[in-house]
Structures are given as structure tokens and as C-alpha cells.
């Protein structure tokens, strides 16, 4: 493990948790991307997934459950020298945080959003999440989940997301590569990661995923610039589950469209001697 982005804070996940694979991948990805710990900001919400930034030597803002995206978006807006990554869960990002997910895709800020999708609420001990498979029983969903599992990738494509991918926490090289590509993509990069929760998700296990995932990169017919085909792919869930880049297309990011990228980062502005006299003058009745 590359030391530069390692950290001393002890890990609180269960042994065997898929989050270890994501941690491993992100550390590898940061090393590949280069730069120093100070150049990265990892923002998270609350959940097992959201503890990740504490395990990496880089700036961290571990905010409220469901609210990682607005904090991350604004941080990037005013301090665009930071490479901002978001670590969030299926509950955090799609449940509590659903409205921010929706609108930050529309904003297209240059963020890399890594959704640890264990199809369950891990930290609160096993309730259904928006992505829990139909029929799965929990202490709350005693008769099994009856809601339509959320097709977050399809939703993202509908909203114009320019980079939509899925990884699997057991496939570290592949995931590392996705994160690197996502971070390099200028705009909102969504990387949903299949992440087995060994404690509360007894259905979607390491094995379950391993038996099903296949790489889009190895599917000759897949063309990541074809929006409609990409959208169709997002419905593929069952015997076979695609991982890799579903769709990628460069479009103006928020920074570009707003003109922010053409100016020095806002946080560097000198604010000590702002001259406001002229404005006040316009309020003088004359």
C-alpha cells in the first residue's frame, strides 16, 4: 500500500468488508494520479462507507448523513485546486441525499463520486437501502423489500451525467483504473462500487457478485459514447452484472460554464480592503 496516502487512524470496518477493497483502490488511484495529500479533499457523509476518508492521508470533510455532495460541490467551487472525491453509501447518496445527487449531476461540478453500494444500511445494522434487491428481508422489511430497486446509473444518465461507471470492490486494479479515469474526467464522475457487506447483506455476497460481474471493456458491442445503449445496460442486473464505464462524454463542467475556471480560485481573493463606496453612492438620492 502506498504510504503517502496511508494513515494511522485504526479501521473500524468488519473483517472481510468490501470497503477494504475500495480503500485499497482509492489509495492506489491517488498514487497514480500523483500530487500530495494536501492536493486532495475527500468528502463523505455518514455510514460505513463514509468513514473511509479517515483512513487516508488527505484532507477530509466528514459531514452529515446524506449531505456529502453539497459540501463537496461548494468546496470545489471555491477552491478548485483541490481534487475533490466523495465517498458515500447507497443510503447516504441515494436515500437521505437523493436530492443532492439529482441536482449535482445537473450542476456537473468536477467531482469524483464513489458510491459504496452494499445494497444495505450497514452502520445502522441492516435496514433496506434504495438499492436493496426486491424480496430481501430485514428487521424492518419483514416481508421483504417491495420497492423498485433504484437504478441510480440510469437516473444519472437521464440527468446528463457525463461519466457513469460501476466497479467492484474485489477487482482492485479495475476499480483503481475507474477512479483514476473518473478523477481525470472534468465534471461529475459517478462510480458506483459493488461492495459486499459481509455482516448484513447475506444475499449480495462477494461470491454472488463474483459470479455475475463482467467487464464492459471486454464486451465488444459496448460503446461508452452511446447514451441510449448505455442506459439499456443500466437495467442489466441479475445473472450478469456489467462493471466498467457505461458512458463517458465530455461536456462543459460547472467551472467552465460559470467562468470560475478562468479566474484564480476564490479562496485566494484578498478581501481586506473592498471598496464599496461606489455602490453606496448609487443609493444616494440625487
Amino acid at each position: 500500500m502506498p504510504k503517502k496516502f496511508g494513515t494511522a487512524d485504526p479501521i473500524a470496518w468488519c473483517p472481510g468488508c468490501g470497503n477494504f477493497g475500495i480503500l485499497n483502490s482509492i489509495q492506489k488511484a491517488l498514487s497514480k494520479l500523483g500530487g500530495e495529500p494536501k492536493d486532495y479533499l475527500l468528502v463523505s457523509g455518514i455510514g460505513q462507507s463514509s468513514k473511509l476518508p479517515h483512513y487516508i492521508n488527505a484532507n477530509c470533510f466528514n459531514g452529515l448523513h446524506g449531505r456529502a455532495l453539497p459540501a463537496a460541490a461548494a468546496a470545489k467551487m471555491v477552491n478548485r485546486e483541490l481534487t475533490v472525491l466523495v465517498h458515500t453509501g447507497d443510503g447516504d447518496c441515494y436515500g437521505e441525499g437523493g436530492n443532492h445527487f439529482l441536482h449535482n449531476i445537473r450542476r456537473n461540478i468536477d467531482l469524483t463520486v464513489i458510491v459504496h453500494n452494499n445494497q444495505i444500511y450497514g452502520l445502522t445494522k441492516g435496514q433496506a437501502s434504495p438499492t436493496t434487491d426486491r424480496g430481501y428481508k430485514t428487521k424492518v422489511q419483514i416481508n421483504g423489500v417491495i420497492l423498485e430497486p433504484m437504478n441510480a446509473l440510469g437516473m444519472a444518465l437521464s440527468l446528463g451525467a457525463p461519466f457513469v461507471a460501476r466497479g467492484f470492490s474485489d477487482q482492485i486494479e479495475h476499480l483503481t483504473d475507474l477512479i483514476v479515469r473518473g478523477a481525470q474526467h472534468k465534471g461529475f464522475a459517478l462510480i458506483e462500487v459493488l461492495q459486499p457487506c459481509v455482516t448484513f447483506n447475506k444475499k449480495n455476497t462477494h461470491k454472488w457478485y463474483q459470479e455475475r460481474v463482467y467487464k464492459l471493456e471486454e464486451d465488444k458491442s459496448h460503446n461508452p459514447s452511446d447514451l441510449f445503449e448505455a442506459w439499456k445496460k443500466t437495467f442489466e442486473w441479475g445473472e450478469k452484472i456489467p462493471i466498467g464505464v457505461f458512458f463517458e462524454k465530455q461536456k462543459p463542467s460547472y467551472g467552465e460554464a460559470s467562468g470560475l475556471d478562468g479566474k484564480p480560485p476564490l479562496f485566494l481573493d484578498k478581501i481586506e480592503d473592498i471598496s464599496i463606496g461606489e455602490v453606496f453612492d448609487s443609493f444616494i438620492v440625487r
Binding site: 484532507n59 449531505r67 464599496i276 453606496f280
Partner: protein, 549 residues
């Protein structure tokens, strides 16, 4: 008191009452008069009954009056609603003649200028003032339109040249016209705000509009958020990442921001929040005024933490306190709330220009690398060195869970105790040291003290002048949290009767004083119908209270 005239322009939404108000405000001020103008309007875009009320006076005026001297009515319904407030010598200006002038000039759009002309004539204002104002207001329209407006105004002016209400103007001094929302926006600009995120909500939207208006000029990022939760979390994210950040809303949106407020406190991220109150619960009266959220903003957010609540009592105070809010937020790394309301946000009075540079910017940021940097280092003051991510080499950890000095999640009791002391006890102690003085008026010899916070201030000030016979003084609290208990108690003296005057139903200030000072006030004058206190309302209630004392 001074000779004054109260003018009400009533009509449907969309008929331009506000434009007539703007024209008259400026004309009167240009003529050397003083004005106080407030808005009363419905939560709809067209139709209904709205009015602008201008109190014009030879001396400074600070509050609305009840009796109207001139009523301009742009539709028949509004006439019947408002006529009963007309003084016996009052003038009623109906729509018909104005409409006729407008039609002759080129269409209904010229009613506004015609109306302004008619009012100006009744006050004996020199027409050239009105002409100048119209030229200014329509400066970005083409010449023909300006000309037609002036023509309509002239015709209105000529309708009846009887000077019914002659006011002695004293021109000369430069005066500004600014509403509370503008003052807060300009205060924030002066304080160096670089990020403002908000979701539209009356009566806070003026701040959003104003900041958007000046955004390019002052390099401010103004972002309309998808909801208020996003608004405050964005402001916190922006502040964490290094800029001064603010958000603004009204009570309902503030309710949605409560969790974020608590987050700002826990992560020790400075943020300024404007809460422009309106009558609640729930959607309430969207466009009206109230001071019903005092208790709420002091206690809002789960858990216990340091915060500051300012309650500016005037447009100028709003300007200064907004700047101070940023300084305190930065110094203590806390949320600072500015409590406004519709009456403060949208009323204007003529006044001399502010001291623009009174408040100096104090950012309290770590400017260089320190060895073994820890974001939440324990210090005597409770304030830790704050650095911006990326600006120093060390990685900075901010956390919403209970954390150790380094910002990592902890479960330890001992650390928790130190952190509560830091975030709450120590910061509150520091804040109490520098709490703003309550603002006294006519204290010596007073038998009654009228106590208020926020937008009642100037009204109460004026009440004291009018109620000299009752020997009324006034104490205004520009800061309500931490409450200036000691300073307030020192101002009091034997035998004086305390009366709070509050735009709410439960006398929240009285409760706060009882809790913080152990003092039970004599009585409270309350108003909770969504309308601001008028000078008359307070005077009447005050006399009533004194009678029964």
C-alpha cells in the same frame, strides 16, 4: 411633533404601487424631506390588495403611522378597504383621473407617474424634483418613454394644485435610501463574502437578488441551491474550503437548515445565516412580518454549542452587524445568525450615508505551516488554529462525529468532555466577553423602559419621543445571544417598569430576560397579525398598560 404626511398607495399586485412608492420616496427626499416607507402586500403576483405607505416628514421618522392623509387607490376594491383610515382632512385620489391622464399619454403604464405627480402637488413639492427622479429611474429606457413619464407626472401634478399638506423641507444633506436586505447584502460584500447559497424564500430573497446583482463586480459566487439543506451544507463546504460564506432564508427554510447549523458548530466551520422572519407556523403569511423565531434561533439545532444571534434594529445596524457576524464567525469558528424580518428587510427610511469602513476584517486564519498541526487542538480559549485545506502541507480532518484533536472519530469520554468544553463553555465565555451592549435611549429619569430586539428598535425610539409624558425610555438588544445579561442588569434602576414590545404572541424576549437575568418584566406589548408595529399601536397599548398599572 413635526409636521408630517402619511401617504398610502394601494392597489393590486402588478399595478405598480411599489414603483409609485419608489418615485415618491426619492422625490420627497430630493426635496429635502424625510421619509419612512414600508410595504404591505399579499402572497400573489397579480390582483389582491397591496399598499406602499410613505410617511413624509420635516424631521426624521422611523415607523409607520395608522392614519392616512393621502390615499392613492389604483382599484375600487382597495379604495373601500383603505378609506376608513383616511384623516378627516385627508385626500383621496381615485384611479379615474390618473387613468385618463395615462391613456392620453400612451397607456396604463403611465398611471404611476401621474399618481406621483398628483401626490407631489398636494405636498407642494417643486415639480423639478419629480422630473429629476423620473429621469433617473427611467434612465435606461429611451428618451420618449422618459418624456412621456414626465408628461404624465406633470398632468397629475396639475390635476389639483391646492397644496393641502405643506411640509417645510430642509434640503442640502445627502441622504441614502436602503432597505434591510440591501444593507445585509452590502455588509456581506464589504465583509468579503465569496459564496452565497440560498433557496428563494420571502422575505429573504432580496439578499439573494442583491448579491446576484453585485456578484460579478465583487467576484462572489451566488448559487441557487436545490433546497435549504443544500444551501447551508454548501455554505459550510465553501467556508471549510477557505472563503467567507453565507446563506439566507426565512423560518421554514431555517427549519430545514437546523441540522447543518449543528454541523457547522461540530466541525467548527464559520458560517453566517440570515433568518428573515415571517409569520408562521408552516407557510403562514409569506409576505408579512413577525418576530416569532427568537427562541427558535437561539435553541435551534440538536446538541449544545456556541452561536451568536444578532438582531439588527435598523438598516445601518444591519450593515454593520453583518460584517461583525463574519468576524465573529471566523474568530470563534461558529455559526452566526442574523435575525431579520420582513419589516426590516423591506422598509426604507432616508438617512445619512453610513461609515463604510467602520468594521475591519479579521479572518483569524493560520497563515503558515505549524509543526504537528491539528485542526481541533485544545487551547485555553477553545479556539483552534484554522487552516485552509491545500494551503498547508498537513492534511486537515474535519468531522461531524465526536472527534479528537486531529479530527478523527473518537468514542472516548475524556475527549468528549474536553471537546464540549471547547466548543461550548470556552467559546461562550469568550463570546460573552465581547457581547454587544444593549442600546439605551432616554434612560435617565425614565419610569418605563420599552425593551425590544430587531426591527422594533426605531419604532420604540420614536415612541419614547412621543410618550415623553409617560417618561418612556427604550433599550434595544442588537445581540440577543449570548444574551448581554450583566450589561443589561447594570442599566436598570429602582422603580423602572420593564415592558417588552414584540412582534410575536408569546413574549419571547420577556422569557429570555427571565431565564437569563432572573428578571420578570412588568408587561409585554405584542402584535402577531403579520403587520409591523405602528407608532400609534405602541402608544395606544402603552397608555393602556400604564393605566392598569
Amino acid at each position: 411633533m413635526a409636521s408630517e404626511v402619511n401617504i398610502r398607495i394601494a392597489g393590486e399586485a402588478g399595478q405598480g404601487t411599489k414603483t409609485i412608492g419608489d418615485i415618491l420616496n426619492r422625490t420627497l427626499v430630493l426635496a429635502g424631506l424625510n421619509i419612512f416607507t414600508n410595504l404591505d402586500y399579499m402572497s400573489r403576483v397579480r390582483g389582491g390588495d397591496n399598499f406602499v405607505q410613505i410617511r413624509a416628514s420635516e424631521t426624521e421618522v422611523f415607523s409607520p403611522r395608522e392614519e392616512i392623509n393621502i390615499l392613492v387607490s389604483l382599484n375600487p376594491e382597495s379604495a373601500s378597504i383603505h378609506k376608513r383610515f383616511l384623516s378627516p382632512d385627508g385626500i383621496f385620489l381615485p384611479l379615474e383621473p390618473l387613468s385618463k391622464i395615462a391613456q392620453e399619454t400612451g397607456g396604463d403604464i403611465y398611471i404611476n407617474s401621474a399618481a406621483a405627480g398628483a401626490v407631489a402637488a398636494a405636498l407642494g413639492i417643486n415639480f423639478e424634483h419629480l422630473e429629476k427622479v423620473l429621469a433617473g429611474i427611467f434612465a435606461n429606457k429611451d428618451k420618449e418613454i422618459i418624456g412621456k413619464n414626465i408628461k404624465a407626472a406633470r398632468s397629475g401634478y396639475e390635476l389639483d394644485r391646492t397644496i393641502k399638506f405643506k411640509l417645510n423641507a430642509s434640503p442640502g444633506e445627502k441622504k441614502i435610501l436602503l432597505e434591510g436586505s440591501e444593507a445585509i447584502a452590502l455588509g456581506a460584500i464589504k465583509a468579503g463574502v465569496r459564496f452565497y447559497s440560498a433557496y428563494p424564500m420571502t422575505p429573504s430573497t432580496g439578499i439573494l437578488n442583491n448579491l446576484a446583482h453585485y456578484a460579478r463586480q465583487f467576484n462572489i459566487l451566488v448559487e441557487q441551491a436545490e433546497d435549504e439543506i443544500a444551501a447551508i451544507n454548501m455554505a459550510i463546504g465553501a467556508s471549510f474550503a477557505g472563503v467567507r460564506a453565507m446563506t439566507g432564508t426565512s423560518g421554514g427554510g431555517f427549519a430545514l437548515m437546523n441540522e447543518g447549523l449543528s454541523l457547522a458548530a461540530m466541525t467548527e466551520t464559520p458560517v453566517v445565516i440570515v433568518e428573515a422572519q415571517r409569520p408562521a407556523p408552516a407557510t403562514g403569511f409569506p409576505t408579512r412580518t413577525e418576530q416569532g423565531d427568537l427562541d427558535y434561533v437561539i435553541h435551534a439545532g440538536h446538541g449544545e454549542f456556541a452561536r451568536v444571534v444578532f438582531a439588527p434594529g435598523s438598516v445601518s445596524e444591519a450593515y454593520y452587524l453583518t460584517q461583525k457576524a463574519f468576524n465573529l464567525a471566523d474568530k470563534y469558528q461558529i455559526p452566526v445568525i442574523i435575525l431579520s424580518d420582513q419589516h426590516l428587510a423591506e422598509s426604507v427610511r432616508s438617512q445619512i450615508p453610513f461609515d463604510l469602513n467602520r468594521v475591519k476584517i479579521e479572518r483569524h486564519l493560520l497563515s503558515e505551516e505549524v509543526p504537528d498541526y491539528k485542526r481541533y487542538r485544545l487551547t485555553g480559549s477553545g479556539i483552534s488554529p484554522r487552516a485552509i485545506p491545500g494551503a498547508i502541507k498537513t492534511a486537515i480532518y474535519a468531522d461531524s462525529d465526536e472527534h479528537d484533536e486531529a479530527g478523527h472519530i473518537t468514542e472516548e469520554a475524556a475527549t468528549r468532555i474536553e471537546m464540549v468544553k471547547k466548543r461550548f463553555y470556552k467559546k461562550m465565555a469568550g463570546l460573552k466577553e465581547e457581547v454587544l451592549d444593549p442600546v439605551p435611549y432616554k434612560l435617565p429619569g425614565a419610569k418605563i423602559l420599552l425593551l425590544g430586539f430587531g426591527s422594533t428598535h426605531e419604532t420604540l425610539h420614536e415612541v419614547c419621543d412621543y410618550a415623553a409624558d409617560l417618561k418612556a425610555g427604550h433599550i434595544h438588544f442588537p445581540q440577543v445571544w449570548p444574551f448581554p445579561a450583566e450589561k443589561f442588569k447594570k442599566m436598570l434602576f429602582e422603580g423602572v417598569k420593564l415592558i417588552t414590545v414584540e412582534n410575536n404572541a408569546s413574549a419571547q424576549l420577556a422569557g429570555l430576560i427571565r431565564r437569563e437575568c432572573g428578571i420578570t418584566v412588568f408587561s409585554s406589548i405584542l402584535r402577531f397579525d403579520g403587520r409591523p408595529f405602528s407608532l400609534d399601536f405602541v402608544l395606544r397599548e402603552l397608555k393602556e398598560k400604564v393605566k392598569h398599572a
